[in-house]
């Protein structure tokens, strides 16, 4: 079972991504090769969601939406209001469109289910993703999970002196509160000076 980052922890994950090409392979009888099973959790690409959604009626778990990071949210707002999870796929860690897509889902569409970032994402981007309203991150690169743990470890463990530079060794080696920020986050936005002066 693949591991993902959820709310800052490494957890096993059982949402299956249904590949677009798999689902559209019809057999001779005109049936899709994709037959959802009770109890399994599926993430469907947006174009398939409407097609397969009826097959899930009566299931305990509805399929989640897998969105391209550049998706026009207005076009899929009905699905957004129904699904338990939305995963946004990042095609490259240099492409930050998904940060806005996630924030928009929370702000404008009041999406309250699980918001997931998946694909080409650097462990160093997780904090920003969380602040944009994402709950979970599924990396393409399995090593990223270890790297993420290491980064997080730095945040809680006491400093291990590895630097050659005394200056740095003498200061704290781990962010005391990495979530401190000027902007707050999507669920609690703030202006920079809010609550910082006595008036």
């Amino acid at each position: 079972m693949p591991q993902i980052i959820k709310k800052g922890r490494v957890v096993n994950d059982d949402w299956h991504i249904v590949a677009e090409e798999l689902a559209i392979l019809d057999d001779e009888a005109g049936r899709s090769s994709f037959v959802p099973k009770h109890g399994d959790k599926y993430l469907l690409p947006a174009p398939l969601w409407n097609t397969f959604f009826p097959q899930f009626l009566g299931f305990s778990t509805l399929p989640g939406l897998l969105l391209d990071h550049q998706v026009e949210l207005e076009d899929i707002n009905v699905a957004v209001s129904l699904v338990p999870i939305i995963a946004i796929r990042f095609s490259s860690f240099m492409d930050g469109t998904g940060f806005s897509t996630g924030a928009l889902l929370r702000e404008r569409f009041s999406f309250s289910g699980e918001l997931r970032a998946c694909g080409a994402i650097l462990p160093d981007q997780v904090n920003y993703l969380m602040r944009c309203g994402f709950d979970s991150v599924a990396f393409n690169d399995p090593h990223s999970v270890t790297q993420y743990e290491k980064i997080q470890g730095q945040a809680v463990e006491q400093p291990k002196a590895v630097a050659t530079d005394e200056l740095i060794n003498n200061t704290r080696n781990s962010p005391r509160n990495a979530s401190l920020s000027y902007q707050g986050d999507v669920s609690r936005p703030k202006t920079p000076f809010q609550r910082r002066f006595g008036c």
Binding site: D95, D165, P175, Y182, P189, T191, Q194, R196
Partner: protein, 550 residues
């Protein structure tokens, strides 16, 4: 000047620690070069031709004397005894060692400085009027807003991986000394008819390969909505800006593709949708930001100057070119020139940095500003101190009396240092300056701007110069294109290419010919180069440069 509180200190410290971790992972091979790239760029670290380059943020150009001393220490301990003032008011160290960068950042942190977002596809350091707070034509001091924007844009989670770099400039005076129309967002603080403070919002300006002037998208944005409106612009850009071609990725391309009307409509729609969610700036908050920029304790002084003819000619020339009126009686604004012929434009040595720190403490309330023209401003000098200041600055080569003239060249490091450059820019400047070493001749030309960029990234902003020079690569050979007619200040214009590019040795003669045409054709000595060019068009200049030799 703004003073850090616990939150600022913590945010910067966290970033220093985080970056050190990223550097360690890169050096140990855990982090690939490709993945390290955006992370190091967001911390101002470029890999250059000879050595890595570290760009340090000088928020809206403000520096304290202690910060100057810290920069001097870094120059001495980690670089080769000098650094470089950029055209966006920042400082660059050109010879740092990669593994020493975390230590440099820790040094900077001690004096409330950082390199956060000085490069990369994110919101860069906000620039402003280097004469903010002291200029006679100022309506409102823009710096409190700059500081609010600095904080809001620092480590903003949504806008750290934009299609391309993003630059904001803010002014509060009539003359635009920050070139706001050349920025992705340009803000001008204005008062409404009812007396309310707010902004004129310009968007979509930029230089580079496709220079464009920004369009006015909002004539009046009440100040409390500032951050919500910035967010709306950035969000539209982050969603719809092009990412398939880096040369078409700046917001100017999006604005021009959609048309400014359609772009504005999208921004306004996004702004309205978030109107109720986005926290607004309260008057108290803006007042608090403003409290850091209140006037220093000026003395009540007469504005009369002693007769200057008793003083050396060089001092008189300096007073005429490098000293400007101040809004407070008895004070002047002094530009310390970094254009001495012995140094590259904008370069500043360890010794000069320390000396300027001393001068700032002695004569200007311990503060200086860096300027877009790559000089240093002492903003609050008493008239009665001017001569002493001049005497003390002269031995350190800080009094070259050429501010605003052809010799006040703005120049990028060019091919001598920069990994991006196609051609060298420094030798071009040297060749030109050798032809114009006679100050009398230079003064006779009046105000004229010369800017030299070593490549199309246009770091020297050559497009807005009266005379701009751009280095290009022609099958491995250095060539240079001349543009004429650019301007900035009360009006902005982008220069037009004069003709085919020329090799290095023909540039200085060409500039000489252009100047000769101007001198011969101007109506009188009061007509600026810019006006003459506008009146005549490029015809006579082109003819002079290309007619015979080329």
């Amino acid at each position: 000047m703004y003073q850090y509180d616990d939150l600022d200190r913590e945010v910067v410290r966290n970033r220093v620690i985080q970056f050190k971790g990223q550097m360690d992972r890169f050096l140990s091979g855990e982090l690939s070069e490709e993945a390290f790239l955006p992370l190091r760029l967001q911390n101002g670290l470029y890999v250059q031709k000879h050595a890595p380059m570290l760009r340090v943020a000088i928020p809206y150009g403000m520096l304290s004397s202690d910060q100057l001393r810290a920069l001097a220490t870094i120059c001495q301990e980690y670089d080769r005894g000098y650094c470089h003032i950029t055209t966006r008011q920042n400082v660059q160290f050109n010879w740092v060692a990669l593994n020493e960068v975390p230590a440099i950042l820790a040094q900077l942190e001690r004096v409330e400085m950082h390199a956060i977002q000085t490069s990369g596809n994110c919101i860069r350091n906000t620039t402003s009027d280097p004469l903010a707070g002291v200029a006679c034509d100022e309506v409102i001091d823009p710096r409190p807003y700059c500081e609010i924007i600095r904080q809001w844009s620092s480590l903003h989670p949504e806008f750290a991986f934009l299609p391309r770099k993003f630059k904001i400039a803010v002014i509060g005076a009539e003359e635009d000394r920050a070139s706001i129309r050349l920025h992705d967002i340009g803000l001008k603080v204005v008062r409404s008819e009812e007396g309310e403070l707010g902004f004129q919002v310009w968007t979509g300006g930029g230089l580079g390969r496709t220079p464009m002037l920004a369009s006015l998208i909002r004539n009046f944005l009440p100040q409390r909505y500032l951050l919500g409106y910035l967010k709306a612009i950035l969000r539209v850009y982050n969603q719809y800006g092009r990412r398939d071609n880096k040369y078409k990725a700046r917001i100017k391309i999006l604005v021009s593709a959609l048309g400014s009307k359609q772009f504005t409509a999208q921004v306004e729609q996004e702004f309205e949708r978030n109107f109720h969610i986005d926290p607004q700036l309260s008057d108290e908050e803006i007042g608090y930001a403003r409290s850091f920029f209140s006037s220093p304790s000026y003395q009540i002084l007469s504005d009369d100057m002693e007769p200057i003819d008793q003083y050396p000619i060089a001092y008189q020339q300096w007073l005429a070119r490098n000293v400007r009126p101040h809004k407070v009686s008895g004070y002047r604004i002094v530009t310390l020139s970094l254009k001495h012929i012995s140094q590259a434009p904008g370069d500043i040595t360890t010794e000069q940095l320390r000396h300027i720190a001393t001068l700032a403490d002695r004569y200007s309330f311990g503060e200086v500003r860096t300027t877009q023209q790559q000089n240093i401003v002492l903003a609050d000098v008493r008239c009665s101190d001017l001569y002493e200041l001049w005497l003390e600055s002269e031995p350190k080569q800080l009094v070259t009396p050429t501010v605003g003239t052809l010799s006040d060249t703005v120049c990028c490091p060019g091919g001598d240092f920069c990994g991006l450059a196609n051609a060298r820019s420094l030798p071009v400047n040297t060749a030109i300056q050798q032809r114009f070493s006679d100050l009398k001749k230079v003064y006779g030309l009046g105000d004229i701007s010369l800017r030299i960029s070593g490549c199309i990234n246009a770091c020297a902003h050559h497009h807005i110069a009266n005379i701009g020079i751009l280095g290009i690569d022609k099958k491995g050979e250095e060539f240079y294109q001349i543009t004429l007619g650019g301007k900035t200040g009360y009006e902005s214009a982008i220069g037009k290419v004069l003709g085919p590019s020329l090799p290095l040795e023909k540039i200085a003669p060409a500039i000489d010919k252009i100047i000769q045409v101007y001198v011969a054709q101007r109506v009188d000595e009061g007509e600026t180069f810019s006006s003459t060019y506008e009146r005549l068009g490029k015809g006579p200049f082109k003819e002079a440069v290309y007619a015979t030799d080329y």
